[in-house]
Amino acid sequence: MLLFIPTLIGLTVIVFTLLHIGGTTKLLAMYLSPRLTGAARAHVIAELDAKFHLNQPVYVQYFYWLIQILEGNWGITNTPLYSGPVTQAIAIFFPNTLILTIFAAIIIWLVSIPLGVHTAVNRDKPSDNAIRVASLTFYAMPWYLIGVVLIIIFAVYFRILPIAGTVNPSLVVGLSWYHNGISYPTHILLIDALLHGDFKVAWNAFLHLIMPSVTLSLGVMAALIRLMRGTMLETMDQDFVNFARAKGVPEKVVINLHAKNNALLPVVTNFGYLVAGLLGGVVVIEDVFSYPGIGMWLTSAMLNNDMGGIMGGTLLFGLILVTTSLFLDILYAKIDPRIRY
C-alpha cells in the first residue's frame, strides 16, 4: 500500500525529465514576450533564471519544481480553449471528464458482469457465442469509429440524441449559475442543474452524456466480459462450488454467491485499471463529441506545443492511476478476507 509514494516520486521524475527534454528555451519562450530585445530581454531572462533556478544542477531544479507542484503552482497553459494556470484549467475541464468516466464505469459494470456470468453459465450455447462475437467486434473497433458510427445512427439518422457538446446552448442562456460554458459550483453541468432544481437542463445534459459514455464503455466492456467469463468458468470447476452443490444449495445461490463472488476478485482489479485507462480513451472520444473535458484540453495543448498543459495533464493522469490502485487495494482487502495489510 505504501508503494504509492515511490510510484509518485518516479512519476514526477519522469514528468520533470520530459519537461527538460523540451529544453529551457521552451520554458523561457512561454514567459518571454518576443517583442522584448536587448537589455530588457536579458534582464527578463535573468529574472526567469532566478525564478526557475535554471542556473542550478538539474536534480536541484527537480526539488524546486517538486516544491512548486506541492504548493499548487503547476505552471501555465496557453491554448485556444483556455489560457491561465494549469490548476485552474484542470478544475474547469476535469469535472466533465470525471462524470463521463463515472457514467462509462457504471455502464461497464452493470452490463459486463451479468453478461460474463451468463456466458459462463450458458457456455458454448448460441447466446454465449453471439455475445462473444459481438464483444470481440467492439473490442477490435477503434474508439473514434464506434463514436462516429453511433453519431450517424442516433444523431443523424434517428435524431434522438444530440451530436456534440454538454448541453443545448439555447437552454442555458441567461442562467445565473452558468457563464462561458462553465457551470457553478461543481463545474459538472448535470449535478449543478440538479442542485439548482433545473430538471430540463439536467435532462438535456444527461442526453449529451449518453453517447460519449456508451462509446467509451463498449471497448472496455468487451474485455471485461471475456475476463469475467474466463474466471467464472474457472471458479465453477472449483471444489467449493461442487461442495455447495453437494450441500443441496439451490443452483441460483451456487452461481450468484459461491461462484460469482470468487470469480469477481480478479475482475475487480482489472476493472479499476481499465477505468483508469478510460482516461486515455477520453482524449479521443472528447474530440469526436466536442466534449469540453480534460482530453480536449490536452489535445489542444499538444497541438499548440503547450508544455504547461502537457505536463499538468500527464501528472494528473499519473495521480489518478496511483489513487485508483490505492483505492483498489483497500477495496480488495475489504472483499477478500485473506488479504490483510
Binding site: 457456455r123 458454448d124 450455447k125 470447476d237 472449483q238 471444489d239 467449493f240 461442487n242 461442495f243 455447495a244 452443490r245 453437494a246 450441500k247 443441496g248 444449495v249 439451490p250 443452483e251 454467491l257 459461491h258 463472488n261 470468487n262 472483499i335 477478500d336 478476507p337 485473506r338
Partner: protein
C-alpha cells in the same frame, strides 16, 4: 425414523451396470464400465483401487455432481429407489452425437431435482479440505447453509422455543435435569409446554464436559424470554409448521429479518455441533474464515457440514488422503465416533487399504472402472480371490521386512480399454477366455463376489 432404517432391508443405493464416459477433445474416456454395487443401510462400504480407476467418479455420480461432458451411457443408480440420472441416460440413447451443451441443460434439471436430497438424505465429503471451503465465507455460514435450506423448521422451532419459554420453564428444566438427567420426563415437559425446540440446545449444553455444573445451569437458565418482532414471528411459526422456506423475494423487509433470524440460529446450532466434535472454542470458530484454520480443522468443518442434518448416506471421498498421518488418525477416529452417534450409512473411498481396514464393514475393489471384487472385510483381507486384489495386498507396506511387490504393467488406456477382462494384460493367470469376454461377478463365498473366470462356476 431410526427404527424404520433398521427394518428396511432394501439397499440405500443400488448401482446397476453403470457405464459413464467422459467426452474430451482427446477422445472418449471410459471411466466407468459396468459397475454393479449396492450400499446397504447402516453399513460402512469401503471402496479401494488405484488412482484413476473411477472411485471418485462413482462417488460423484451417486451425488449427481458430474461435469457436463460426462455421458451416462448405460445403467442406473437408484438412490432410495429413485433413478435421478435417467434424463441423461435417455438423452445419450436418443442423441446421434453427444453434445455437452445439451447434456448440461439436463444436468441442470438433475441438479435441481437432486438438490432436495443432497445435504439432507445424502451428502459428501471431498478429498481436499484446502479447496472444499469457500474462501470468502465464514465457516459458520457454510455449515449453516445446509440447515437453512433443508431444515428451516428446526431452526424456527429452536428460535421460537426460546421466545416461548418463561423463566419458570427453565428453572423447572434445570430441576428435572438434576433429578433425572435427560430422560423421558424432560421430553414430556418440553412437549407439554410446546418448547420442543429447546431439547437439543439443552442437551448440547448439559453434555459439555469442560464446563462446571453451575455454569451449565446458568446457560440453560438463559435459554428463555428472548423476544422476536411480531412480524417475523408469524413467518417463523409458518416455517416451523411446514419446514419449508417462504419466497423471500415476495416479502422484502420481513424476509430479511426472518432470514437473519434463521441464519443466526443456524450459526448457534453449528457451534453446538462443532462443540460435540471436540473443536475448541466453537463459538469463535464459526465466525472464522477457512484460511484461518488448519487442514485438519477444515476437514472437520467439512465433515460437520456433511453430517449436521443426519443424512442417510455419507460419501467420504478420500477424506484423509490430503492430511498428514496424525491428523489422518484423528479424522478416522472422528468418523468412527460419528458412526456410533449418528446411525447412517457410509461409503468410504480410499486408495489406502489400511485405512479401509480400520473403518469398513464391506470392501469393494475397483479396477479400470469396474468392481472386480466385493465382500466382507475379513474375506477380502484373509482370502482375496481376484488376482488384482491379491497383488494389491502384497503391495501394502508393513513394518516387518518383506519384499514389496508392485503390480507389473500399467492401468489400461481408458480411451481404448481391453475388450475382455480389464486386468487381462497384467494378469499372471490369464486364460484365452479372458481376452474375449468380460467376466461377470461370481459368488465365491458368503456375500463375497469376484469378477474373474478363475472362479467361474456358480454365477451370481
Amino acid at each position: 425414523m431410526m427404527e424404520n432404517r433398521k427394518h428396511d432391508s432394501s439397499p440405500i443405493v443400488k448401482i446397476e451396470n453403470l457405464h459413464l464416459h467422459y467426452y474430451t477433445r482427446r477422445g472418449i474416456y471410459k471411466a466407468l464400465n459396468g459397475v454393479n454395487l449396492e450400499i446397504r443401510r447402516g453399513e460402512v462400504l469401503g471402496v479401494a483401487g488405484e488412482s484413476g480407476c473411477g472411485k471418485s467418479t462413482l462417488g460423484r455420480a451417486i451425488m449427481g455432481i458430474i461435469p457436463r461432458n460426462a455421458a451416462i451411457v448405460e445403467g442406473k443408480i437408484l438412490v432410495d429407489g429413485v433413478d435421478y440420472l435417467k434424463p441423461l441416460r435417455e438423452y445419450f440413447k436418443k442423441a446421434k452425437k453427444f453434445k455437452p451443451t445439451k447434456n448440461q441443460d439436463l444436468l441442470k434439471k438433475v441438479n435441481e431435482e437432486m438438490s432436495k436430497i443432497r445435504g439432507q438424505k445424502i451428502s459428501m465429503v471431498f478429498q481436499e479440505p484446502m479447496t472444499t471451503l469457500n474462501p470468502l465465507l465464514t465457516v459458520g455460514y457454510q455449515i449453516s447453509e445446509v440447515l437453512f435450506y433443508h431444515n428451516p423448521g428446526l431452526l424456527a422451532s429452536r428460535r421460537l422455543a426460546r421466545a416461548r419459554a418463561t423463566k419458570e420453564d427453565t428453572k423447572n428444566i434445570v430441576k428435572i435435569l438434576k433429578e433425572e438427567g435427560e430422560g423421558e420426563r424432560l421430553r414430556q415437559y418440553l412437549k407439554n409446554r410446546n418448547i420442543m425446540g429447546l431439547e437439543d440446545q439443552i442437551i448440547s449444553i448439559w453434555r459439555r464436559k469442560e464446563l462446571h455444573d453451575l455454569k451449565k445451569e446458568q446457560m440453560i437458565l438463559e435459554l428463555c424470554c428472548e423476544p422476536i418482532s411480531s412480524m417475523a414471528r408469524g413467518y417463523l411459526e409458518q416455517i416451523e409448521k411446514t419446514n419449508s422456506l417462504p419466497k423471500f423475494s415476495k416479502l422484502p423487509i420481513v424476509g430479511r429479518i426472518v432470514k437473519r433470524e434463521l441464519l443466526k440460529e443456524a450459526f448457534k446450532k453449528s457451534a453446538e455441533f462443532l462443540g460435540l466434535l471436540g473443536i475448541p472454542d466453537p463459538d469463535k470458530v464459526v465466525y472464522m474464515y477457512p484460511h484461518e484454520l488448519s487442514g485438519g480443522q477444515r476437514q472437520r468443518i467439512v465433515i460437520t457440514t456433511a453430517m449436521i442434518n443426519n443424512p442417510n448416506l455419507v460419501i467420504l471421498d478420500e477424506p484423509t488422503s490430503a492430511l498428514d498421518v496424525t491428523i489422518q488418525a484423528q479424522i478416522l477416529e472422528l468418523v468412527k465416533e460419528l458412526k456410533e452417534k449418528i446411525n447412517s450409512t457410509y461409503m468410504f473411498i480410499s486408495h489406502d487399504l489400511s485405512v479401509l481396514s480400520e473403518v469398513s464393514d464391506r470392501i469393494a475393489i475397483m479396477y479400470a472402472g469396474q468392481v472386480v471384487e466385493v465382500g466382507p472385510k475379513s474375506a477380502i483381507f484373509n482370502s482375496p480371490k481376484h488376482p488384482y486384489t491379491q497383488m494389491l495386498m502384497e503391495a501394502i507396506p508393513t513394518i516387518e521386512a518383506h519384499e514389496l511387490k508392485g503390480i507389473k504393467g500399467e492401468v489400461p488406456d481408458m480411451r481404448n480399454p481391453p475388450k475382455g477382462c480389464m486386468f487381462y494384460p497384467r494378469c499372471p493367470y490369464a486364460m484365452p477366455i479372458c481376452k474375449e469376454k468380460r467376466p461377470p461377478l461370481f459368488k465365491v463365498g458368503e456375500d463375497h463376489y469376484v469378477a474373474c473366470y478363475l472362479y467361474g462356476g456358480e454365477k451370481k
